[in-house]
């Protein structure tokens, strides 16, 4: 057997014995790299030269010296000054203090580093280096020039990079150059395009014919084929504004939002499960999808839409749904939470870093076209983005928390809260609550029978103040303050008095929902004790933003607990808490339903100690006349409150963000969560907002609203350009900047930079209206030219960079599926709501597989309403390049794989739609407009009808024409009719059943083949 590996060598025992006898020089405790190098004895220097330098040379210098091809970790070990100065994570050696020296930790394979990385050093070598440090790290005198460490040689100069790259420059308002062909342009867009073509002596392709154009417009705007009637109407409309009418109609169609929302969801890595091992659900995710559909249909200005995404929960005047009157803006913040989440991470800090990295990556690519993730480990290699820029953005994400926000359609919940509050205010005159328990109609709330003991010095919260200072309140349940003397609550038709000094979610009414969240704190004790009572409520400890413990408590046991006891009792939160000491956390007290929760006190408890015992209370009696008067008042109040409570609706729940206290993150040196560097105050990118911008004030919460305003600011040259470019891509098949998510140096340069600025300016001028920009582009001549040009033009501009023709586009999976449903008559245009469960094929397996499959045809709903389970994505959508919901994908792959053909040929969904379409053709084409019912059971009932008209030549021709017009927006040629008719005849001969079945099978084969036709799959 051959054993490959390092061999031990060196006779170290001898060496160590030698140096026990050596006298140690006096070493200053905190010798700094700049202090003069001490002078060492010859013996010590000999030891260094013989035993240490060769070892360093052999084991370390390949990566940590002047001869390293690429210096690792910024650390050099070839001069004493460099050793003392250290690398990215600080000094490598503290002379005389091996235990405090990172180098010693590293060669012992410590937590931070394990060096050398391949193999641990032999014990003797570890001993030698340790000894060397113990001896004060002797080293011969070196001159300053040699000693100077390599320092920061990356040459990162942000200002220079900003100046050098086009995307950082302000948006210009260019005027198009003069063009020779004055009659062609209809818009400035055309002038920019034509000018560049003419420069090369080229001209644009001919205008597309009207049938091509309307099919193109339908798929581009609504993702569905035009009906033959729509085509006929357009053909019959000879007005020069005919196409404008089509475009306006389509923009006004609710189908527009459904089509374009899918483009947006690709950017936001939208999913309805968290992925990872068990693919746990992201609750209420679909509300966000509906929000996007509504916002696009309502043409919400893009700056507003963006602000809503980043900080919609913080708007003082949120946008309300036009009819339902709930807060729309807050739903946009759902975008923060669609990333992958892991359960039971062994390192919860690392997991948080991965989540935040993804959040900032999506934010950067989507709204700015910047790859901020590239600066996680080092200043950006190419762009004007520093590592500090990135971690200053991380602070926003880490100051932000997930909430399942309660929305209040028509403000009915808020109104009820105001009414109840007014009724309760009237009761303050009732008197000393504590004296009233015996009265009918005024009973003590059960939780009040005990007093807490005096506060312990580690109390975290006592709720004895006048308000919730230091806490974050959402929803109506907790009101605006803790309880105080004289507070009452209504329950079961009676008034109950409440103790002072509790956070109580049932004070106004048990029907309200809400949450109370603490500020961040560092877990320093292994137990947290809550003096708490409640019903159907929950307390959660959120450690480093980790929330998956409710699905799987592994490694986070005890972090969440239910409250279901009516007496105030101490509950101790412990379990795995002991393993999370030193982590950042906050407490979340949730009343999500008809129950309530009262928290009297929260304290941190040392290991081994118990929370204090409760002392029992005594009650004082009150004079009888006072009781009688009070009783009357209370009974009346209880009745009034009960009446108001009947009007309180169940809130609408949505996934959203909510503010925590501001947290400034530290630079993670080399992206490593264990090597934290300087604090980076929250602010926007230096390259856009420069250094002068204000950091977010400490009391301002997360500061996301300020961030959002920076993002949409006119000073940000990326914001409008990035979106204008995305729209261009969707309509022309290729962005002006082809790398739509990356406007950085490694991205493509704009093919028409003036046009891009023209579009961005227009977008801003027209109030960031997405619909107006789409309309402008589609009404340009450029949009309306043919996708096929002369050979001469194609040769001169082979990749169509100058846009001498439109681009041929393959339909996306969603459009293809929706088109088949549309032709089959199965399309159900119901909008919104929970997703249709995923249809599970035998090829979808693994953990987290739903135990129930959805319908094969997705209940006929448009593809945007189908469930998006990260680990069980639709095989058809995957084959047709729907992106994985991992990060922003603004430009989909357009791949060409046999799986696509296999699906079109053999997938039962496609076959079923073909059959339905054939049924429609057999009925509808001959004038009978009814469509077959969903189960397809009408087959036999229509048998007689069909037998009579099936074989007539005219009927066949008519039917073939109808199919072609439905599928391709054009009639077939005579030759095509003949071929199809012959085909149907041939096929019918193969099916030996009843005439009706034979006919249906043959026509189904024709429909199926038309689905497979490239003309159906492509849009020209």
């Amino acid at each position: 057997m051959s054993q490959v590996g390092n061999q031990c060598h060196g006779q170290w025992l001898r060496m160590i014995a030698l140096f026990v006898a050596c006298s140690l020089p006096v070493i200053a405790d905190a010798e700094s790299p700049t202090s003069p190098s001490p002078v060492f004895s010859d013996e010590l220097l000999e030891f260094f030269e013989k035993e240490v330098r060769p070892l360093l040379d052999k084991r370390c210098y390949e990566c940590h010296s002047a001869r390293a091809k690429k210096l690792q970790g910024g650390l050099r070990l070839d001069s004493r000054a460099a050793v003392l100065e250290g690398g990215d994570t600080g000094p490598a050696v503290v002379p005389g203090k091996p235990k405090r020296s990172l180098l010693v930790d590293a060669i012992n394979y410590g937590e931070l580093y394990q060096m050398p990385p391949r193999s641990k050093l032999p014990k003797k070598e570890i001993a030698a280096l340790t000894k060397w440090i113990e001896l004060g790290a002797p080293w011969p005198k070196e001159n300053a020039a040699v000693a100077k460490s390599s320092g920061d040689s990356s040459g990162f100069d942000l200002a220079e990079r900003r100046a050098a790259h086009w995307a950082w420059q302000p948006i210009e308002r260019p005027t198009p150059s003069a063009v020779k062909n004055l009659s062609w342009p209809a818009d400035d867009i055309d002038r920019f395009i034509l000018a560049k073509l003419e420069l090369k002596g080229l001209a644009p392709a001919e205008a597309a014919d009207k049938r091509t154009l309307i099919r193109r417009a339908f798929f581009d705007l609504v993702g569905l084929p035009p009906t033959p009637e729509a085509v006929d109407r357009f053909l019959g409309d000879e007005s020069p504004r005919a196409f404008e009418r089509v475009v306006d109609e389509l923009l006004a169609s609710p189908r527009f939002g459904e089509r374009w929302a899918r483009h947006w969801l690709d950017l936001i890595r939208y999913a309805e499960t968290y992925g990872h091992e068990f693919d746990y659900p992201i609750e209420h995710a679909w509300q966000y999808r509906d929000y996007v559909v509504r916002a696009l249909n309502a043409d919400v200005p893009y700056d507003q839409f963006t602000i809503e995404h980043i900080a919609g929960d913080l708007l003082s005047e949120p946008r309300l749904h036009p009819t339902e009157k709930f807060n729309e803006s807050v739903i946009g913040t759902g975008f923060w939470w669609f990333g992958e989440q892991v359960h039971a991470p062994v390192d919860v800090y690392d997991h948080e870093a991965d989540r935040v990295d993804n959040q900032i990556d999506v934010l950067g690519k989507t709204f700015l076209g910047l790859t901020l993730g590239c600066a996680r480990c080092h200043d950006h290699k190419f762009d004007a983005i520093s590592t500090a820029d990135v971690y200053s953005l991380w602070g926003f994400a880490k100051s932000t928390r997930l909430q399942m926000a309660s929305l209040d359609p028509h403000g009915r919940i808020a109104a009820a809260a105001r009414e109840i509050d007014a009724i309760q205010r009237d009761l303050t005159s009732v008197g000393n609550a504590r004296s009233l328990p015996a009265v009918a109609g005024g009973v003590p709330s059960a939780e009040l029978t005990n007093h807490p003991r005096p506060l312990h010095d580690k109390a975290f919260a006592d709720f004895d103040g006048d308000d919730f200072t230091g806490w974050f309140v959402t929803g109506e349940a907790f009101g605006d303050r803790p309880t105080r003397g004289g507070d009452w609550t209504s329950r079961d038709g009676k008034m109950h008095w409440l103790p002072a000094g509790s956070a109580h979610s049932g004070r106004l009414s048990h029907k309200f929902t809400g949450a109370l969240r603490s500020k961040n704190f560092t877990i320093k004790e292994p137990q947290i004790a809550y003096r708490i009572a409640g019903k159907d409520a929950q307390v959660r400890l959120i450690i480093q933003g980790y929330r998956m413990d409710t699905f799987n408590p592994l490694l986070f046991s005890g972090g969440s607990f239910k409250v279901d006891h009516e007496d105030l009792k101490w509950h101790v939160q412990a379990g795995d808490l002991r393993n999370h000491l030193g982590k950042r956390a906050y407490i979340e007290i949730l009343d999500d339903g008809d129950g309530w929760v009262a928290v009297d006190e929260i304290r941190f408890v040392e290991a081994g100690s118990e929370p204090p015992e409760d002392a029992s209370s005594s009650q004082e009696a009150a004079p009888a006349h006072e009781l009688a008067r009070a009783s009357e008042k209370l009974t009346a109040a209880a009745a009034k409150i009960a009446a108001v409570e009947k009007t309180i609706p169940t809130p609408m729940r949505v996934l959203a963000a909510t503010d925590g206290d501001g947290f400034d993150d530290r630079i993670h040196i080399r992206g490593n969560t264990k090597t934290l560097g300087d604090v980076t105050p929250r602010r926007f990118l230096t390259a856009i907002a420069d250094d002068q911008q204000l950091a977010i004030p400490p009391d301002a919460g997360s500061g996301r609203l300020q961030l959002a305003q920076y993002v949409v600011s006119r000073d940000n040259p990326l914001f409008a350009r990035v979106l204008a470019n995305r729209i261009w891509q969707h309509l022309f098949g290729r962005g002006i900047v082809a790398t739509v998510d990356n406007f950085g140096v490694l991205g493509d340069r704009p093919s028409h930079s003036e046009l891009l600025d023209h579009l961005a300016t227009r977008f801003i001028d027209e109030g960031y209206s997405i619909k107006r920009l789409i309309r402008a582009m589609m009404l340009s001549r450029t949009y309306q030219i043919a996708s096929r040009a002369s050979a001469k033009l194609d040769e001169a501009d082979p990749n169509n960079l100058l846009i001498h023709r439109q681009n041929l586009k393959r339909l996306e999976g969603e459009a293809l599926r929706d088109a088949m449903l549309s032709l089959s008559g199965r399309l159900d245009l119901t909008m919104y709501g929970p997703p249709v469960r995923t249809y599970l094929t035998p090829f979808m397996f693994g953990r987290g597989r739903p135990n129930q499959s959805g319908p094969l045809d997705g209940a006929g709903r448009r593809s945007i309403y189908l469930e998006v389970r990260r680990n069980f994505l639709s095989p058809m959508m995957l084959a047709f390049d729907t992106p994985l919901p991992a990060s922003t994908v603004g430009r989909r792959n357009v791949s060409n794989v046999p799986a696509q053909s296999l699906i079109l040929m053999n997938d039962p969904f496609v076959a079923e739609q073909a059959r339905r379409w054939a049924e429609r053709s057999l009925f509808s084409a001959s004038g009978e407009r009814e469509s077959p019912d969903s189960a397809g059971l009408r087959v036999t009932s229509k048998e007689e009808v069909q037998r009579t008209k099936d074989e007539s030549g005219d009927e066949v021709r008519h039917r073939i024409e109808w199919l072609y017009r439905e599928a391709f927006a054009r009639p077939p040629s005579d030759k095509e009719v003949d071929i199809a008719a012959e085909f149907v005849k041939q096929q019918a001969a193969e099916y030996g059943e009843s005439p009706w079945r034979r006919s249906l099978a043959a026509w189904t084969d024709l429909c199926h083949t038309l689905f497979n036709a490239k003309e159906f799959v492509f849009m020209d």
């Binding site: 641990k120 990872h276 393959r810 680990n871 990060s887 040929m905 039962p908 490239k1014 003309e1015």
Partner: protein
Amino acid sequence: MHCGRYTSDPINRRQMLARCANGFGAVALAALMSEWTGDSALSAETTAGSQAGTRPAATGALASLHHPPRAKNVIFLYMDGGPSQMDTFDPKPLLNKEHGRPFKMTIEPTQFNNNGSTFGCPWKFTQYGQSGIPVSELFPHVAQCVDDLAVVRSMTSNFSEHTTANYFLHTGSGLQGRPSMGAWFGYGLGSECRDLPGFVVLHGGLMPPGGIDCFGSGFLPATFQGSIFKPEGESIANVRSREKTGAVARNKRALLRQLDEAFLTRAGNADAVESAITNAELAFRMQAAVPELVDLSHETVATKKLYGIDAAYEQTRIFAAECLLARRLVERGVRFVELTCPQISGEDRWDAHSALKSNHESNARAVDQPIAGLLRDLKSRGLLDTTLVVWAGEFGRTPFAQGSNGRDHDPFAFSIWLAGGGIRGGTIYGRTDEYGYKVVENKLTVHDLHATMLHLLGVDHKRLTFRFSGRDMRLTDVHGEVVREILV
């Protein structure tokens, strides 16, 4: 599912079209074109392990290989759940000596945090072959092949959760959504198969935690995704023609050709349309090729026996079928074949959090004979010289108990082995501490493994890149070194 890149070189296709009088040619020529693709470059070279010179890769992204390859196909035997190193290929007598006593090293955080005392190995080790590599009783058949194996005892992972570790092993990143190694091989090297996908996953019944994203193409084109084949029944989704008669299918195909022919002409012979047509033709052919592939009736009784197709244990039979199919796929030029383990009732993969003994015995019983059969069969047919076989889980297991009789996840050290093209058989590489808990010598990372695998197929891992998200992405990220010590 899909096959490498079937579209052939655009210039050739253009030339071909130019020769056609009516401007239409691709459809008629589709079959011929894909034959071309299949026969080009790599496949014409190297049999019986001869060292080929640097030559152009079939239809991958690389214009030419970076250096002479030692292998042209990969079979990755994925041991889902993480087999224990000290119970398979890394004997640690001290463990048995200290069995039941408190574990002496510092214990890192573990997945279940239910750490018991030192836990001895329940199986005996014996030295085998010329090399004398010790193998435990769990692998009596594979043990007979040790002289072909390079056992790496110093493998590590960055993650101790299954899903992240699976993504890491497969894609070089712990995050969901990156391209799997098989996709990278296909992207770089293209495919040699005529009518099968270039990256095939033989699905034994266990989908690893993390799901199909372990085999995804991530940001690479969907063309390079792993195609999941089931070893029996309808092996790929939608590959079975549902047509009633052959004539029905032929007529439809003929009609489709006519329709597409006309459309292609009208679309000015656009490349995208032409490629889609070529692909449809391929899909037609796959309907015949795949059933032929999975039909084992022409294999000899002796061959089947070698793999254990007739074994008493059902899971052995399943894995035997996978291994035999792996050979058949390699014979047909499929670039990268990955095998997943069969489901064993009552056991959760190799993930022996409790009852280590029954867990590992059942799992080893399922895979041992089929793997040995595969190695021998490949060798006897001269295919082992050009096929790299890798056996690995996502991490190892702790030398201390979880509870009383299980082992938790250990990402700090585990054993894997490699065999076949370019591998120096009979080698042990790397060393763990005396308990097998952590690597102390020649630590190997997943990136190093990937770099070495690519190297063996003639690719410099630093030069196989794909521009995404503003970066030139690599399978090995910014890491990875080729482990030359285990190479011939």
